[in-house]
Symmetry: C2
Subunit: 279 residues, 2 copies
């Protein structure tokens, strides 16, 4: 089975000097996802927690909302060059979804009228999100929020080795880390966290906080919402469409969370006032 | 037409203080790409240089190798909510490619045997790259290489406003910036640079250098190779599969290019020895 990191030789340049040395790199391998035996998509990911990745992907795509809708996940044994299993093909058994691939393609090209725009994209997601995030009673103190980046970073084992992975972490409202996943793709790291929660029977993730390294895109906001998460925090900037989607759904979107400061773009009422912290 | 940045209100938290203020965000909007009238894909991007983006995407997918294979690019006028053009749908006219979408899907799912693995993925790309990168005579000094990150960063207008965009820059062997593009997606920024080169009649980009913010993935390495670029440099880490693909193709892959140092993972002979710099 593929490893999370791999060693490669490198020539290290530093000012005028040059030396050969080995380097640890984040592994990247293709993963094919099949539903009921039919190939759906191939994408690149860092091997490890693959069942979580597939489960979370299915939640984000609206194909699975609970454990009862996912009968089985298995590596497809078969014809790698050397006759062994490449562990890069996973088949998901969905009892009520024989025709899932076609459905997904329809979603992907849902707005094929000429007028495709952010507004329509948001509307399409809004109708698919099975949770009312506006009703979520999560409250979090600024200090708890400020503490999340260090906790995320401290738990990133593979980043330490390679200097190159994205991370997603699921936290409780009082800042306890429930699950951390790393991947070359930020969206994969989020899928792995959500898939872990599904397989643990924890969905929807009401009252929880998702923290990601890097930026907050439309896609990550969508994934958080599909899992029922009321607060998405990012180390770096959100995009305009991420903010618009969060606004529409009642999800709290926090950006630039670093150095004991943050920007709250939507539903700021979930961040307690300092007075309330003390009282 | 959509703008590259958009303003949103934000609540700024800093230590115990809280204040309302506006913030500039990188715009993100869906873009649907059609080929000869048939929808191929919808993805998120930062508006701006859209024709470059589509042209570069078509080069990366192996559908277009020269200007003569791309008859026209046009925004599909049509049915936005308000009856105007959303500028989010582009139709590409490819004279020899009536059936392009099916071809692309085949490529995407090319290895649907159970043994899909990085090795096979690399082999699939190798057969598609129309350039012999091993024959490229590019040579670059370490000092020129060390100077690229600052030049890239200095040219990033939108990043300065939003703190949140990826960039790709095309440089000559002596470090002159030819083209810089920014986007919420790093792969889009690269597509925009390559598409610019195609539309300027500059492909293939022999002897040139591509520099990207962030990491170097398999996908970015593939895009560089499809454009004939012999050297890809990244501010951060490459993945294992990016290194393996670069090795196979004879492309020079440079990572961790910052603070007057760098790691050269493949084809290091293109980086001149310091002695050669002085002579």
């Amino acid at each position: 089975m593929a490893r999370v990191t791999e060693r490669r030789r490198t020539v290290r340049l530093q000012g005028p000097s040059r030396s050969a040395r080995p380097d640890s790199l984040a592994a990247e391998e293709p993963l094919e996802i099949r539903i009921n035996g039919t190939a759906l998509t191939v994408s690149m990911r860092t091997p490890g927690h693959d069942f979580d990745l597939v489960a979370g992907f299915l939640v984000a795509e609206g194909l699975v909302a609970g454990l009862d809708q996912l009968t089985a996940l298995r590596y497809c044994a078969g014809a790698a060059d050397e006759g062994g299993n490449s562990y890069n093909v996973i088949d998901a058994t969905l009892p009520h979804r024989a025709a899932a691939p076609a459905t997904l393609h329809r979603n992907l090209l849902t707005s094929s009228a000429c007028g495709i725009c952010g507004r329509e994209t948001i509307e399409a997601i809004r109708t698919r999100v099975p949770h009312d995030l506006t009703a979520d009673r999560l409250r979090i103190t600024p200090d708890t929020l400020y503490g999340l980046p260090d906790k995320l970073r401290a738990a990133q084992a593979v980043f330490d080795a390679t200097g190159g992975l994205h991370a997603a972490g699921l936290f409780t409202a009082d800042g306890r880390l429930l699950c951390l996943r790393e991947d070359v793709g930020r969206h994969n790291a989020v899928d792995k966290v959500v898939g872990w929660a599904l397989r643990e029977g924890l969905l929807p993730l009401h009252g929880q906080v998702l923290m990601v390294s890097g930026r907050a895109s439309f896609e990550l906001t969508q994934k958080a919402a599909m899992a029922g998460i009321p607060l998405l925090a990012a180390v770096s900037a959100p995009s305009s469409l991420a903010v618009d989607l969060a606004e529409e759904l009642g999800l709290t979107l926090v950006g630039f969370l670093r150095n004991h400061s943050a920007n709250v773009y939507t539903s700021a009422e979930r961040i307690l006032e300092p007075a309330a912290q003390q009282g």
